[in-house]
């Protein structure tokens, strides 16, 4: 059967990056996870339109695309805040006080892990281990790993984003 490749949902140039990923894999349905990585890296999260487009382009049922996108913790269907703070809650960080860091942020900004502040400035996330256990507790501030973080330090770093 003839298959016409669908066009991206918008003429946003960033779709080209996603297109390139799918093309590299010959639009193979097996490339679903690789493609979702590409979407998330490009747009920051997996929006509904994107999932529909990927499903069509790779000829995978939308239910399966959702199934995969929700199975893996790394994928997020919600837009993240302007800044993200990921607190590692792996064993080493847990033993060395990561829960206190989470509690301090939760209390000050009134958000639970996985949530974003009402003004969209800050998202608080947790990770299962970011592989910097020697520096526990480790926190990733906007993609930058910091080690041996105290609750005070965490609040201070976040304060630089929010207090202006």
């Amino acid at each position: 059967m003839h298959f016409t490749k669908p066009s991206p949902p918008s003429d946003d140039k960033r779709w080209r990056i996603v297109e390139a990923t799918m093309r590299r894999h010959g639009y193979d349905p097996n490339a679903l996870i690789e493609t979702l990585h590409s979407v998330q890296q490009t747009f920051g999260y997996l929006e509904t339109e994107a999932l529909q487009y990927v499903a069509k382009a790779l000829r995978v049922p939308l239910s399966k695309v959702y199934g995969v996108a929700t199975f893996y913790h790394f994928f997020t269907l919600k837009p993240q805040g302007e800044h993200t703070c990921v607190v590692c809650m792996g064993t080493a960080c847990y033993i060395k006080g990561a829960p206190h860091v989470v509690a301090a942020i939760s209390e000050k900004y009134q958000i639970q892990p996985g949530e974003t502040t009402a003004d969209g400035k800050l998202s608080l996330l947790t990770a299962r281990c970011i592989g910097a256990c020697g520096l526990a507790p480790a926190v990733v501030f906007d993609g930058e790993v910091a080690g041996k973080v105290t609750p005070e330090e965490a609040l201070q770093r976040i304060g630089r984003w929010t207090d202006q």
Binding site: D28, P29, N30, A31, L32, I33, E34, L36, H37, V60, K64, G67, V68, F71, Y72, H73, F74, F75, M89, G90, T91, A92, Y94, I95, K96, A127, R128, C129, I130, G131, A132, C133, G134, L135, A136, A138, E144, V145, A146, G147
Partner: protein
């Protein structure tokens, strides 16, 4: 490329760049980078340029030096001085001191037992070579094992050598590597695959990450040798997306090896071809399980399936597939270079060679270590690890992550090998080793691991999906002071049920942290239930 040509390449690399008078090796693995080692590197380079010392002074980025907690770490040659906790402001003083008296306040004593008690095979290039330069790897005999295998050995001879070495899988279960290779080699089929399991889902472990970031070619060489031995021509590296630096360095390494004809078509001018691709994990612990990992590479949800058939017979897209861990592959080249007997002479009767551990938690020297099998826990924690800081007391060491257990003080003099650890209710696992002192509550630790298993259970089978949630609920009742002794009995019953009826390793081992803490720290459970008290002062009791 023949071994002779490799040797010539290695030599010409040395000649092209005459040995500088001073060389500063600075760690650019993830741990030290997060402590600012890239800024320090730049500051050093600027300082050297300003003084016009470029011709006699080289700054070189290298892999993990091991003592990550003291980062950024650097090594000054030929002075043989190691510096720790270096900042940009230290650059002038360091450059000034080259060849003279070292900068006293930065010195990290390299004669401390942390360094001297280790035995490095897997990590022999870590902290020595620049992980982004294939020439550096080749200058350290890199790829000679592959060239030799292709020129002089039959696939069966390679498998025999690995079998003779006694190497066992470093991903957790300790399955004999030679046996696994020969099963895949014997399997029929038009295509075969080799997969490197670099998912490293074990929270509190970073051995694989460090190897990939510090010496990526080592893993590629091991995979290529394995592919030749089992008859595969395509390989996949399944790496966690949470390890972007490792992924970047692997991509660079693959490109470099392809350019020199050490990967790709007709490797070293022979008929053997082997291509390697990277697949990114997406944050699911269960994807470390081999059948789930295969499903994930196929673009599906990472859910395990019953075995047999094993991947060795029915793996990726139904073809025979060899899956080994990063550290397992990293052991291959040295075994071929030095012989299986050499490897078998290290370690214990049943556990040969060395093991890399990620030493973390409440211990003075946290970081990455490699030690011969059979060393005692006490040597690891107190000699290498420097003991417990801040005047606290050792309480337990957790090995094997969510599949493992907590080992109490009475077993500190036990040798570390697969069998001994299993005997006391824990496992070697992948090598995470987390030290705890009296500030940790063992019931809380068991609850922590159960929480992990609940959120990581793939949900496919009921005992694991429902059982772990029930167990978590009971543990939560205990830590909040609301449980009765009947709850404890129920918890123990559930341990057995989940252990023996779950489909995959995740569910089968999920009760282990509970079982081992119950075995050695039962009185802490009782204190929570009967006295409504947490002896460590961690759990908040509801009155």
């Amino acid at each position: 490329m023949t071994p002779e040509e490799l040797r010539r390449l290695a030599e010409s690399h040395e000649e092209a760049r005459p040995e500088p008078r001073h060389r500063i090796k600075i760690c650019v693995a993830a741990g030290c980078l997060s402590a600012g080692s890239d800024r320090v590197r730049e500051a050093l380079q600027n300082e050297i340029a300003q003084r016009g010392l470029e011709s006699e002074c080289e700054v070189k980025g290298v892999g993990c030096l091991g003592l990550c907690t003291a980062g950024p770490l650097m090594l000054v040659e030929p002075d043989g001085v190691m510096y720790q906790g270096v900042t940009e402001q230290d650059a002038p003083a360091i450059v000034e001191s080259l060849g003279k008296k070292p900068v006293e306040q930065l010195v990290c004593p390299s004669d401390m037992s942390f360094f001297t008690k280790q035995y490095k095979i897997v990590l022999e290039n870590s902290g020595v070579i620049d992980p982004e330069k294939i020439e550096d790897y080749i200058a350290r005999d890199g790829y000679t094992a592959l060239a030799r295998v292709l020129e002089e050995m039959t696939p069966q001879e390679v498998i025999d050598e690995i079998t003779r070495s006694g190497l066992r899988g470093r991903g957790g279960a300790g399955y004999p590597t030679g046996l696994k290779w020969s099963t895949v080699a014997k399997a029929g089929g038009s295509r075969k695959f080799v997969i490197c399991n670099a998912d490293e889902g074990d929270p509190g472990a970073f051995m694989d990450r460090s190897v990939l970031e510090s010496d990526p070619h080592r893993v590629l060489e091991g995979m290529a040798i394995a592919a030749y031995a089992v008859g595969a021509s395509q390989g996949f590296l399944y790496v966690r997306a949470e390890y972007p630096l490792a992924v970047k360095r692997l991509r660079t390494a693959i490109r470099q090896a392809e350019r020199l004809g050490l990967l790709g078509n007709n490797i070293c001018g022979t008929t053997f071809s082997f291509h390697v691709d990277i697949r990114l994990g997406a944050g699911a612990f269960v994807c470390g399980e081999e059948t789930a990992l295969i499903a994930s590479i196929e673009g599906k949800r990472g859910q395990p399936r019953p075995r047999p058939p094993y991947p060795a017979e029915y793996g990726l897209w139904g073809y025979p597939t060899l899956i080994n861990n990063v550290e397992t592959f990293a052991n291959v080249a040295p075994i071929i270079r030095n012989g299986g007997d050499w490897f078998a002479s290290i370690g214990t009767e049943k556990s040969k060679g060395t093991k890399v551990f990620a030493l973390a938690g409440r211990v003075r020297n946290t970081g990455l270590i490699e030690v011969p099998m059979g060393i005692t826990l006490r040597e690891i924690i107190f000699d290498i690890g420097g003991g417990i800081p801040d005047g606290h007391r050792f309480k337990a060491v957790q090995t094997g992550g969510p599949s493992g257990g907590c080992i109490p003080e009475q077993y500190l003099d036990m040798p570390v090998d697969y069998e001994s650890l299993a005997k006391v209710g824990s496992i070697m696992g992948s090598g995470g080793m987390i030290v705890m002192d009296e500030t940790s509550c063992m019931v809380d630790v068991a609850k922590f691991f159960m929480d992990f298993c609940v959120s990581e259970s793939c949900g496919k089978c009921v005992p694991c999906r429902v059982g772990t949630a029930q167990m978590y609920h009971l543990l939560n009742k205990i830590t909040s002071g609301e449980a009765t002794m009947e709850d404890l009995a129920l918890l123990e019953e559930l341990c057995d049920m989940v252990k023996y009826t779950s489909l995959c390793g995740l569910g089968q081992t999920a009760p282990n942290p509970v079982l081992s803490t119950l075995q050695y720290f039962r009185e802490e459970y009782i204190a929570h239930i009967v006295d409504k008290q947490c002896p460590a002062g961690v759990c908040q009791m509801r009155q």
